[in-house]
Amino acid sequence: MARYQAGDFPAATALIQRIGPQLHRFFLAQFSSRADADDLLQETWLRIHRVRHTYRPGEPVLPWFYAIARRVRIDHFRRASRTTARERSLEEAPDVAVTFPREEGELDDLEALLAPLSESQREVIRMMKVAGMSLEEVARATSSSVGSVKQKVHRAYRNLREQMSAPGLKKGPSGGLP
């Protein structure tokens, strides 16, 4: 990251190759289609590039990336909601939720497993299990306290325990879970 800030293009490319897939998965999991996730990834990198001076060497890098990615995602949802509302008022269409259908087969095992959780619980579990972030790093990325993240994780685990222990639900989405 320090080399990227110093203007080193190979370092920037390496960072994109390393972090890009993680961020893409993060976007794809948020009810977006692959095309949306592609757009959001590009938009996020442009934003990251514009504010790269806000990263301070020595600080954890993943929370910095994810904090910006969350902001881009929120802006995207806000824009999409606005567009949908405008179209609805123009067409006087019946009440339709703002959803982003994904292509067949894109819902992976993790997302299927996390489906019953609330969005905030899914988000912290994804950051911890997919990105491998610590509680402290997730707290930084989500602008919240470690205590609040711990509480979300605790509740998510309780829900997952109940879900996995329920009769008839012992098998996972792809049949590979206990």
Binding site: F9, G20, D38, W45, L46, R56, P60, P63, L110, A139
Partner: protein, 230 residues
Amino acid sequence: MIDEQVDEVLKRVSRTAHEVEPALLERVADSIHSSLQPVRPLPPTWVLTGALVLICAAVAVAGAARTGFYGIEKLTVLERLLIFTTLGILAWVAGREFVAELIPGSRHRLSPGALLTIASVALLAVFALLFRNYRTEHFVSAGIACLVTGLLLAIPAALLSWLLMRRGFAVNSVSAGLVGGALAGLCGVTMLELHCANFQALHVLVWHTAVVSVSAAAGALLGWALCEVA
């Protein structure tokens, strides 16, 4: 089923590699190539926080110099020590949180709501402890004058704070506006304590403390408006 088993299941399903089209990553790399210049990282948090506190102190003193130091002249040494130490600590905490709001991935020790609550309760406690004159002469007229004076001074403090932090990036504009507004409001209260010689308890408790809340609300509203415009 126990947590360790849930953990094991999560680890297993999250191990799946996620493929992204190489062309997409190449496009991303190409899009930043032309503007890839060296950049200077922001200074450490304590430097920015110190600068914000200095800005607030300077603006408050300048405001009081213009309107007169009548308040501080009437305060005892103990009262000065207690009031300005409290304001200094609160300004430092608010400044640090403002910096955290404008640097993505920063550690947040307090939520914006908690900061506003702590600042208001601390000021109310100190004022309630020190001021025991419970008369309410010219409560509304004198109060509104102080509220407006405090808020008017909060504007340059907010502008200078924003100028210092203009290279930052707010991941949540409403929170950043609220915290920045609270910091500017504390600057307004500091000026009022230097200037206002009206020591009626209710006047100080209601109108001086209100500067922080109103300024924070205005900051949050501005943050929300900017977010909507963007």
